[in-house]
């Protein structure tokens, strides 16, 4: 029997998505987990799921925890089969059905029903299991429609990869978490691929930078791409003082819908620096962190 030990962090994540749970709810979760201990242990033994991956799948379950656990336990044979066939590992599976909770059964059924279609995509070499699970992350009960969108659009995605604009990793990064809206995200990519290629061909930002800026854009990909297109002069100006990868990283944390205003804000903030006015204000605690060899001992340089 596999030991079932959920730490406080896991219990808290099951309680609510990013919200603090009441002591009563936390106690309810502990009691429910204890009640289902034997079933959870059998599930962990069969599938290789850890308490961490289970708490990811049950994220935000709250009062529906019992139903979520029951769905997982009931479908353990199907989940084991998918893992045994080598299509997805436990981590990828838990990523796709993350947060599905009371709809876990629907999500798992969709996975089982569509496992051959997914296996085919992997076998064709367009995407690996990690990329697929990244795009389908958080789809939960809508996993079926997400997979359908992938199957329907796989030729279009393959074409983008074959054309050399983006690789599979960059594509999956932009479509990360799109889930049920995967179809809309892929359509936006196909429609805007010429615009994206043009930006890359201009040479300031590469595919990796763009996919970083658009990471997780999903269904809002079209909005994000348009925001970048319209603000290329501002982005180019920023790239005269910052590495393009650093700009992309700074913008990576924004949602695609807010990308336009984030670029505007960034440009406004650094306009003076772009114009050669880099003010280190009083009280900014400047310090020399490192020096060149010559700066360490300038007197030696003077002495020859």
């Amino acid at each position: 029997m596999v030991a079932v030990v959920f730490d406080d962090k896991s219990i808290s994540s099951i309680g609510g998505r990013g919200k603090k749970s009441s002591p009563a709810l936390l106690q309810f979760i502990r009691d429910t987990l204890a009640e289902h201990e034997a079933g959870i242990s059998a599930l962990m033994e069969a599938t290789g799921f850890t308490t961490k991956s289970l708490s990811s799948m049950l994220n935000g379950a709250g009062k529906d925890l019992g139903a979520g656990i029951t769905a997982l336990v009931e479908h353990k044979a199907a989940l084991k089969q998918i893992i045994d066939e080598g299509t997805f590992d436990a981590k990828s599976l838990s990523s796709m059905i993350h947060g599905a909770v009371k709809d876990l059964a629907t999500g798992i059924t969709a996975l089982v029903d569509n496992k051959d279609a997914l296996k085919q995509i992997i076998d064709e070499g367009t995407f690996d299991a990690k990329s697929l699970s990244s795009m389908l992350a958080g789809a939960g009960k809508d996993l079926g429609s997400g997979i359908t969108a992938l199957v329907e659009h796989k030729a279009a995605l393959k074409q983008i990869i074959d054309e050399g604009t983006f690789d599979a990793k960059s594509l999956s990064s932009m479509l990360n978490g799109a889930g049920k809206d995967l179809g809309a995200g892929i359509t936006a990519l196909v429609e805007h691929k010429a615009a994206l290629k043009q930006i890359i061909d201009e040479g300031t930002f590469d595919a990796k930078n763009l996919s970083s800026m658009l990471h997780g854009a999903g269904k809002d990909l079209a909005t994000g791409i348009t925001a970048i297109q319209e603000r290329m002069p501002k982005l180019k100006a920023l790239a005269t003082i910052f590495k393009p990868s650093a700009i992309a990283t700074q913008l990576n944390i924004r949602k695609a819908k807010q990308l336009g205003s984030a670029i505007d804000q960034m440009f406004d903030t650094f306009q003076k620096e772009i114009n050669g006015e880099t003010q280190i204000p009083a009280g900014s605690k400047p310090m020399i962190a490192f020096k060149s060899t010559a700066a360490v001992a300038p007197e030696q340089q003077v002495g020859g």
């Binding site: 590495k243 280190i280 900014s284 700066a295």
Partner: protein, 89 residues
């Protein structure tokens, strides 16, 4: 000959990795300071009374937090910076 001259110039370059908090963000600036302004630059940093960085030299690179590994490797190779970090790596 040109490459040799460039190497000598780099070996003599006074390059500093300056860190400061600007607009609540941790920033870094890789500054190549003019030899004639070295003392004034160090005093300005020490004084923390506000200054314009371009008054002391050229800003080679800038960014948030700290230089990434690629930039550190480049600066290590060109100016001998971050030698301690390499030893610790």
């Amino acid at each position: 000959m040109k490459i040799f001259a460039e190497q000598i110039t780099r070996e003599k370059a006074l390059v500093y990795d300056l860190r400061a908090v600007l607009n609540d963000e941790q920033r870094y600036f890789i500054v190549k300071v003019s030899p004639a302004k070295r003392v004034a630059f160090l005093q300005a940093v020490e004084k923390d009374a506000g200054f314009r960085l371009e008054d002391y030299g050229d800003i080679l690179y800038r960014g948030w937090d700290e230089p990434d590994a690629d930039l550190k490797a480049l600066l290590r190779e060109q100016y001998g910076m971050y030698a301690d970090q390499q030893a610790n790596a």
